[in-house]
């Protein structure tokens, strides 16, 4: 029986009153307990709300920073600091994912509340790399989500469990920093006390991880922009901008310390434009990519520790190499040699073997270079010199080149002016039938009659330049028209037979003009020449690039009645098999073979072979450079049909040529 029951059983009024008091006190107790409980619930609710609010503030602070922070380093350091401060967790640290190995590597970004006490832990952390699944960061990487550990000291599989405990660290959590769904980094935090999982905190941290990921994403986009601005999109090599930048730095370094040597290699592919024009841009691109890879491979094997190479593509077919460090002239040349060697092997482009070579100019550091432009210009000059002296050459820059270049520039502008002023004249060299010594045709040869000096300039001194600058296209057109005019004039005047031929040289550049055939046809139409009298002479170099296309053009010309001969046969690259595929009408034996013709000599055999070949293919043969009666006799005896050379006549002006026509052969 309880106290209340005892009192209730009594009839005493005092007992009744006491009963009432007791009941009231009980009720008071209940009310009080209820109030305390209500307060406790409210306090807990408030506390959670408070935490939540603070965490949202933290998230917001970090999100704001992630939007405005200039770099990953700045933003991450800020975040570490803010999280440590907010949560009171004394240690925070960032790992970045190494793409190549897939491992998490420590960074210099960490925050420690009490560095001295944590020094052993920090030191260990700074030199530990985590593979996936390993330790706290490795587990975050493996699971891809935020991870919590109540007490690291209790888990001996954690690589840092001992050192953490020694430094008084127990609880830990980590979370991934994501770009999209990919983990790029991991952040981890440690607490002194053992702490049970705080779900809410971990959720906020996961959100922070997303925010921080945006900074990495932005930085990656920025890096890509910078990379794209400084690299050639085709080959991925540094472009002119980056190359100039590095060279500028090299020049500056050298000014400070002469031991910082450097050299610049300027590389230009020979005849690349022809490949591009004839095989198309896609083929040209494929060729460049392959060549870039070969160059890079050369540098990789050639440059050891002391020399730092930078290979760049300036544009078109121009490549440059900067060699920095302990580089001597000899080494620079050796590397240039290996660059040339690597091109010896043909490049297969669109199932065709394309042979290329390069001309390389080298300029090495000298005290008078104060900026990148100067040394680039000199390397470029040396390259031009290399190109001019024949393909596949290497040339070192020296001061005299500079003067030559200035001369060349002057020549170029004179040449333009000459075209404009009509300072060119044609000379004609007769082509003679060896059987009866009759003049069957002429070869038209251009001369430059300089107005300023009155000198007559030989083609050797300006044709190469005209070819390189493209002026040859205009000059060639003029030559063709002028020569045909002359021929038609003679024929109209009855001085020349209607079968007299006029041979005109076509340069590679002209030949590869897309409207080349149309140009020839319009010159013929305009002058009224008989196509059967027109002979176009092209060199072997033209035919080698793209035999199929060359054959097509030759066929088009032949269909129009024009005849085409191959010039300087035997000096170029073409193998005899090319001839089989190309429908030439005639073949001109180079003067060097004729010059070596002596009684009972080897010169015989080469010429005999060429003659046999031509006969088999039904081609006419013209021997160039016949200088003596012996030459003429021997050539005739070997069955050569035609010849030209000093023995008959040097090239002469139109007036003298007329006179030759009037002569009757004796």
């Amino acid at each position: 029986m309880g106290a209340l029951d005892a009192l209730a059983a009594s009839a005493d009024p005092v007992d009744a009153l006491n009963l009432r008091i007791l009941k009231l006190e009980n009720r008071l107790q209940r009310e009080r307990a209820a109030r305390l409980q209500a307060e406790e619930i409210a306090e807990k609710g408030l506390r959670d709300l408070y935490e939540r609010q603070r965490q949202l503030e933290l998230l917001e602070t970090i999100a704001t920073k992630a939007n405005t922070g200039r770099s990953v380093e700045e933003t991450f350091t800020f975040a570490l600091d803010a999280i440590c401060r907010h949560t009171g967790w004394p240690f925070g640290n960032v790992y970045r994912l190494d793409d190549a190995s897939g491992e998490l590597r420590p960074t210099p970004m960490w925050h420690a509340g009490d560095q001295e006490r944590l020094s052993a832990f920090i030191e260990r952390t700074q030199r530990t790399i985590f593979r996936t699944g390993e330790g706290l960061p490795g587990r975050v990487l493996q699971k891809g989500t935020a991870t919590w550990i109540d007490n690291v000291a209790l888990d001996p599989t954690l690589p840092r469990c001992h050192v953490a405990a020694e430094c008084g660290l127990h609880a830990a959590f980590g979370f991934p920093i994501l770009v999209g769904s990919e983990i790029r980094a991991v952040m981890e935090f440690f607490h002194r006390d053992v702490q049970a999982l705080d779900e809410q905190l971990l959720t906020v941290m996961a959100q922070i991880g997303m925010q921080l990921g945006r900074v990495i994403e932005r930085q990656q986009a920025e890096e890509k922009l910078i990379h794209d601005a400084t690299h050639d999109p085709l080959t991925g090599l540094p472009n002119r901008m980056l190359f100039t930048d590095r060279l500028t730095r090299a020049v500056a370094l050298r000014t400070r310390n002469p031991d910082n040597r450097y050299a610049v290699l300027f590389i230009d592919l020979d005849r690349f434009k022809l490949v591009n024009d004839s095989l198309g841009h896609a083929a040209g691109d494929a060729l460049l990519t392959e060549i870039a890879a070969r160059f890079a491979a050369v540098l990789e094997s050639a440059c050891t520790g002391d020399v730092l190479p930078t290979l760049a593509r300036l544009g078109g077919d121009e490549f440059t190499i900067l060699l920095e460090g302990a580089i001597e002239n000899g080494e620079a040349i050796a590397i240039a040699d290996r660059i040339l060697e690597t091109l010896a092997e043909p490049v297969e482009v669109e199932r065709q073997k394309v042979y290329t070579s390069a001309s390389i100019g080298i300029a090495t550091c000298a005290s008078y270079y104060t900026d990148a432009t100067d040394i680039m210009r000199d390397a470029d000059l040396a390259m031009y010199r290399a190109k001019a002296s024949g393909r596949a050459r290497i040339e070192m820059f020296d001061k005299s080149l500079h003067d030559k270049a200035i001369e060349r520039l002057a020549l170029e502008s004179d040449l333009r002016e000459a075209l404009h002023n009509g300072e060119f004249v044609l000379h004609y060299q007769p082509i003679v039938a060896l059987a009866d010594r009759r003049v069957t045709g002429f070869e038209a040869l251009v001369r430059w009659q300089r107005k300023t000096t009155g000198d007559l300039v030989a083609p050797g001194e300006f044709i190469t330049l005209a070819e390189e600058t493209g002026l040859i296209v205009f000059l060639g057109d003029w030559v063709l028209r002028k020569a045909l005019q002359t021929l038609v004039g003679w024929q109209k005047q009855g001085i020349a037979a209607s079968t007299l031929t006029m041979s005109v040289n076509v340069s590679p550049r002209q030949f590869h003009q897309h409207d080349f055939v149309a140009g020839v046809l319009s010159a013929i139409a305009d002058t009224g020449a008989d196509p059967a009298c027109v002979r176009l002479e092209i060199t072997e170099g033209v035919s080698i690039i793209d035999a199929t296309r060359t054959a097509g053009i030759i066929q088009e010309l032949r269909d129009a009645g024009i005849r085409v001969s191959i010039d300087d046969f035997g000096t170029g690259y073409s193998s005899l098999s090319y001839l089989h595929n190309l429908p030439f009408d005639a073949l001109k034996i180079d003067r060097s073979f004729v010059a070596s013709l002596k009684q009972k000599d080897d010169g015989h055999e080469i010429i005999q072979t060429i003659l046999d070949l031509a006969r088999n293919m039904g081609m006419e043969v013209v021997a160039e450079g016949t200088e003596t009666a012996d030459h003429v006799d021997m050539l005739r005896d070997m069955g050569c049909g035609f010849a030209q050379g000093y023995f008959f006549s040097r090239p002469v002006d139109a007036e003298a040529a007329r006179a030759l026509l009037a002569q009757v052969p004796d």
Binding site: R35, E39, A42, E43, L46, R47, Y50, E51, G88, D193
Partner: protein, 179 residues
């Protein structure tokens, strides 16, 4: 002042002197006396209650505050055991008042204005504690420290080197452990 402080005072008074005494104090101070832990009440009310207690028990206000602080500690421990758990000593516990205890208080009771203390750990047997508050309740702090020592079964003496109640701009108390 947060209602929780009034609740603590009520509890301390009731435990030692019975609930009637608390009713008497409210009556003497002329206060309605309905306090909930989360509420905010005028500082004057706690001062009035302390004065009423001093008069009734024949003590000074300072003595009442010290007594209250000492008695409040075990009650606090009942209510917030987590704050006391991870410490091996009173010293350790007291040193967390700025970093953990009062920050936690602010989370529970929005609008709580808890004092900040300056601690100087002179040697391993003593701490000098600086206190500064418009409430001038260094005696409560004194009592809290005493109560904390009791909880960890330690004995401390506290000496007021300077005191706001005696015209100083801040209080300096030296807490000294017997061993």
């Amino acid at each position: 002042m947060k209602g929780v402080v009034f609740n603590l005072l009520e509890e301390a008074v009731s435990r030692q002197f019975g609930p009637e005494t608390w009713d008497d104090l409210l009556d003497d101070a002329d206060l309605p006396g309905a306090y909930t832990s989360l509420g905010n009440y005028s500082d004057a009310e706690i001062v009035a209650l302390v004065s009423a207690a001093a008069t009734k028990l024949g003590k000074t206000n300072a003595e009442i505050l010290q007594w209250f602080g000492e008695e409040a500690m075990p009650i606090l421990k009942e209510r917030y055991p987590a704050l006391f758990e991870n410490h091996k000593s009173a010293r350790n516990f007291i040193l967390t008042v700025n970093s953990i205890i009062h920050p936690e208080v602010r989370k529970l009771y929005s609008g709580a204005s808890c004092p900040f203390f300056h601690f100087r750990e002179a040697d391993e047997h003593s701490i000098v504690m600086g206190y500064e508050s418009s409430r001038q309740m260094c005696d409560l702090a004194h009592g809290f420290v005493k109560g904390a020592a009791n909880i960890y079964c330690e004995e401390v003496t506290i000496e007021h080197h300077s005191c706001m109640n005696h015209g100083a701009d801040k209080c300096l108390m030296e807490i000294r452990w017997a061993h």
